[in-house]
């Protein structure tokens, strides 16, 4: 009987220690890359194009490339994702067809990123003859981000109380008017959070853009959606595995810029979520 509380204490210590084993490496990775990357970071590094076999200069084309790709992904993924969410949350009844949609979303979320790359190559680059281009890459990334957007946004739409819909209808609003003027504005923070989380994934992915858009080295900026572009994640992969004699500082700097981009999106998403959760009056 004395041992029961001892057991409990030991158990809790074990659980806490395991959690530390999970959490500390996360901090270590981030801290290490920030620490090592800060040295390389300069205005020049961000604003200049690479030269001398990428061993000197900056990563400007890769930064712009990733921003353009993310923008392209957003243009495709937001309408499809939000539309799909509205259908699932507001229109779909619980039929086998709706379950097929849910099954499809769960599967899209589970398909390996490299398989998206193969698909993008087969469909957009070759079959639709877009070539390796921002267009092909953004379309591939957009399909990959859909499940993230839909699952987060659907939660937000479902959290809007049913009364809101009832009241809207009782005032003579059509179903679409209710969605457009009541449900969507109320669920907006959740939808935006979902979009940011999806785009963050798109910005950081390498495998889907390997064969659909990424250029090994391209010192000038892309001129049209049908151009190739450099991109931060692919650039980090290239300089850390494919270029012998690459100075470490450039690798750390690139890793830091990519990490900072993704983490700031992550933080923005959590701030939006918690801010609006606190302000919400229902």
């Amino acid at each position: 009987m004395i041992n029961r509380m001892g057991m409990q204490k030991a158990g809790f210590v074990l659980l806490g220690a395991t959690t530390l084993v999970v959490v500390i490496p996360i901090l270590l990775v981030i801290g290490y890359i920030i620490y090592e990357g800060m040295e390389a970071l300069s205005w020049q590094f961000i604003r200049a194009a690479p030269f001398d076999g990428m061993k000197q200069g900056g990563i400007f084309p890769a930064i712009v490339g990733t921003l353009l790709l993310t923008l392209g992904t957003a243009l495709v993924a937001i309408p499809i994702g939000v539309g799909g969410t509205v259908y699932l949350a507001e229109y779909a009844r619980d039929t086998w067809l709706t379950r097929c949609i849910r099954l499809a979303i769960i599967n899209l979320a589970g398909i390996p990123s490299i398989v998206y790359g193969l698909f993008g190559l087969g469909m957009f680059v070759l079959f639709l003859k877009m070539g390796t281009s921002i267009m092909a890459g953004a379309l591939t990334l957009a399909i990959m981000t859909l499940p993230v957007i839909i699952s987060t946004a659907e939660e937000a739409l479902r959290a809007v109380p049913t009364e809101f819909r009832t009241v809207s209808a009782s005032l003579g609003g059509t179903r679409w008017q209710g969605i457009r003027y009541i449900i969507l504005p109320q669920a907006l923070p959740g939808i935006i959070t979902g979009i940011i989380l999806g785009l963050l994934r798109a910005a950081g992915e390498t495998a889907p853009i390997l064969f659909t858009v990424a250029a090994f080295f391209l010192p000038h900026l892309p001129q049209s959606p049908f151009d190739q572009t450099m991109a931060l994640p692919y650039h980090l992969y290239v300089i850390s595995t494919q270029v012998p004699g690459m100075p470490d500082s450039i690798k750390y700097g690139t890793a830091l810029v990519l990490l900072a981009l993704v983490l700031s999106m992550n933080i923005a998403a959590s701030i939006i979520r918690s801010y609006f959760r606190r302000r919400r009056q229902w």
């Binding site: 099954l103 990123s113 950081g204």
Partner: protein, 304 residues
């Protein structure tokens, strides 16, 4: 204003709304279309390999595409070995952490831990791969006195952490779905909080926890960049435990590393899409099982 009031009194057919609702329906079903399209294109580009290369070669133990050997076994074994090792590491870490976050940690600590796990999920795999190459691999080489640090073990370690966010969040949902009455009953019987967690809550959540591990495994099988950068990419059969500290090559890394250099429409190209089919089917089965479990459990109120 007058005319607007009139239209709202008597519902009438509005063209714009009809168009909007129709397109929302189409968008709703688009996800099914995307899954089918992905599978279709994998089949189109991958199935030819089955008549271009004899089956005996395809399921052989040698992968040397330049010499006409397309044996996928080393790649399948490589993926399986790395994934299983990763799960063996991640399973206890993930489940115990989920239990800590959900059952033990006070509110303020939970508010810190949950975002941290989300941050881990957000770190790009290429960044983790870079960290693995530059920090973990040299450590593994020194500690285990291996000829190279780019080994199955290093890759599995990185992969384990990459699958943790999935395992933790799904396991947490599973624990969350255990009714409060279970806990109350155990505590009322005089069980300590620890006994309640260990003997009542965790067993009640076991199928949900099993699903968490499955989904984590699905995530690990499909991971590409980090694995490619850290496991060393030697297409050899990992047949004994010593292979843990040798390089291996996974299916995903093979596609990523070789697709850039193959002739489009050639045998090698088809073979890489063939590997894509295997990956697609594997993750499809895992996620199908997860989805069916979710549908079944929803009727019982929550995922357990």
């Amino acid at each position: 204003m007058m005319s607007q009031a009139e239209t709202s009194e008597k519902p009438q057919f509005i063209w714009t709304e009809f168009v909007i609702e129709a397109s929302i329906r189409v968008l709703g079903f688009s996800t099914i279309g995307f899954v089918l399209l992905i599978f279709l294109f994998l089949l189109l580009e991958g199935v030819p390999v089955f008549w271009e290369v004899p089956l005996k070669n395809l399921f052989g133990t040698r992968w040397y595409p330049n010499f006409g050997y397309f044996g996928t076994l080393p790649l399948i074994f490589g993926s399986a070995f790395v994934t299983l090792t990763a799960i063996i590491i991640a399973l206890p870490l993930g489940v115990l952490t989920a239990v800590f976050i959900r059952e033990v940690a006070p509110e303020w600590l939970r508010e810190i831990l949950k975002p941290m796990v989300e941050v881990l999920a957000g770190i790009p795999s290429v960044v983790l791969g870079f960290f693995g190459m530059i920090v973990i691999a040299p450590l593994v080489r020194v500690i285990f006195n291996a000829p190279t640090g780019l080994t199955v073990f290093s890759g599995a370690l990185v992969l384990a952490y990459m699958s943790l966010p999935t395992i933790i969040s799904v396991a947490e949902d599973a624990l969350d779905a255990v009714p409060k009455s279970y806990r109350d009953a155990a505590l009322a019987m005089g069980a300590t909080q620890w006994q309640t967690i260990w003997h009542v809550v965790v067993p009640a959540a076991r199928s949900g926890i099993a699903m968490a591990v499955m989904l984590g495994m699905g995530r690990a099988i499909g991971e590409t960049m980090a694995v490619m950068m850290v496991t060393g990419n030697a297409a050899r059969m990992p047949l004994d435990l010593g292979s843990l500290f040798m390089p291996a090559r996974t299916m995903t890394a093979t596609i990523a590393a070789e697709m850039g250099e193959v002739a489009r429409g050639g045998i090698h190209y088809h073979a890489l899409f063939g590997i894509g089919i295997i990956l697609f089917l594997l993750t499809f089965i895992i996620n199908l099982a997860a989805a069916l479990a979710i549908f079944r459990k929803q009727r019982r109120g929550g995922l357990r």
